[in-house]
């Protein structure tokens, strides 16, 4: 794969090093020639000095043939603009932006950035996972190319579905229970007559937009 990385700070440098070692072709763009020089001493000539928000720089970088464009500068606005130019002018199929402000995650998606990555969010999620009780719903996977996801749902003891058979539970549209993990970790394939018990976990395929409905259906008392 040809990967263009914008921003030769700590993240950009380690990322470039890692993807190079996996055999990908990499170009690292930064405005600071001195930083690029030091990196090139170690990793070879993979640097391009310039402003990645200028079309000329991206042209010189051969961005049009890039499979992946990754903007990891310290500035959210710079990462957004670089990704938008890569996408609209150079038709790069996948763009990734690093963000530091949590609020920019939904915003950047809305504005056309394919993926956002944030250490703030990862650390926050870790803190939440350590401090709160086990979450009701854990996202296991997002199905590629669709709005469906697979989630792991814990049935709370107060839930109205405790003791009910699966056929008697009304789930949100397009949601399907595909696996049942009993409180003692036994794994079962659910049938319409399987009854749910408190502390069971069910694995559900459903629309990403149905999480609130799922909460209502399986945790509501």
């Amino acid at each position: 794969m040809y990967i263009v990385i914008v921003g030769a700070g700590n993240v950009g440098y380690h990322l470039a090093k890692a993807v190079l070692s996996k055999g990908h072709e990499v170009l690292l763009i930064d405005r600071d020639a001195a930083i690029l020089g030091r990196i090139e001493d170690e990793l070879g000539s993979i640097g391009l000095e310039g402003d990645a928000c200028e079309a000329n720089t991206l042209e010189e970088a051969g961005t049009a043939r890039a499979d992946l464009f990754v903007a990891v500068t310290e500035q959210d606005a710079d990462n957004l603009v670089a990704c938008q130019i890569a996408k609209h002018r150079f038709k790069v199929p996948r763009t990734v932006a690093r963000i530091t402000d949590l609020k920019n995650e939904p915003l950047f998606k809305k504005l056309g950035v394919d993926v956002t990555v944030s250490s703030t969010i990862l650390i926050l999620q870790y803190i939440e996972s350590q401090t709160s009780k086990p979450p009701f719903l854990t996202r296991l996977a997002v199905l590629k190319g669709s709005d469906r996801e697979i989630v792991d749902v814990r049935i709370p003891p107060t839930s109205a579905v405790v003791g009910k058979k699966i056929r008697d539970i009304s789930l949100p549209q397009n949601s399907l229970i595909i696996l049942l993990i009993r409180r003692d970790e036994r794994i079962q394939l659910p049938t319409s007559t399987t009854a749910l018990e408190a502390g069971d976990r069910v694995v559900v395929v459903g629309d990403r937009s149905s999480e609130a409905g799922l909460h209502q259906a399986l945790a509501g008392s």
């Binding site: 928000c53 079309a55 000329n56 959210d76 606005a77 603009v81 130019i85 609020k103 915003l107």
Partner: protein, 130 residues
């Protein structure tokens, strides 16, 4: 008309004064209060501290009631991001942004943003004088 101006430099302050004289209700937003000194002493509008690329700051500045948003900081990318937030998050009817880099300005204009490029305007005006 209610207008929010982000960036209180020479252009921002001058524009605020012009718009107010023309009878509009103007609010100015800047991350640095030192620019507010450029506003005329007669300025009656609000001058607020805040970052126009931050939704909460924009909300505090009253963006939801604004008829127009004008992004005039020194940084092209900040202006581009703020104008896109005004447009796509807050549905401000008119979101104008200054972009110094002519190719970037052209690209965002193609993408539907209401942009203007001082660099190109100035060059044109000089050419006309020759």
């Amino acid at each position: 008309m209610k207008v929010l101006i982000m960036g209180c430099g020479r252009v921002g302050a001058h524009l605020a004064s012009l718009l107010e004289t023309a009878g509009h209700e103007v609010t100015v937003l800047d991350v640095d209060p030192s620019g507010f000194g450029k506003l005329p002493l007669t300025f009656r509008g609000n001058a607020l501290l805040g970052d126009g690329t931050d939704e909460d700051s924009l909300r505090r500045a009253g963006i939801e009631e604004m008829d127009a948003f004008i992004a005039l900081t020194e940084c092209d990318n900040t202006n581009i991001m703020a104008a896109q937030i005004a447009k796509s998050v807050f549905n401000v009817r008119k979101a104008v942004c200054r972009v110094y880099d002519p190719t970037r300005e052209e690209l965002y204009r193609e993408m539907g943003l209401d942009t203007f490029c001082p660099t190109a305007l100035m060059a044109e005006s000089v050419v006309k004088r020759l």
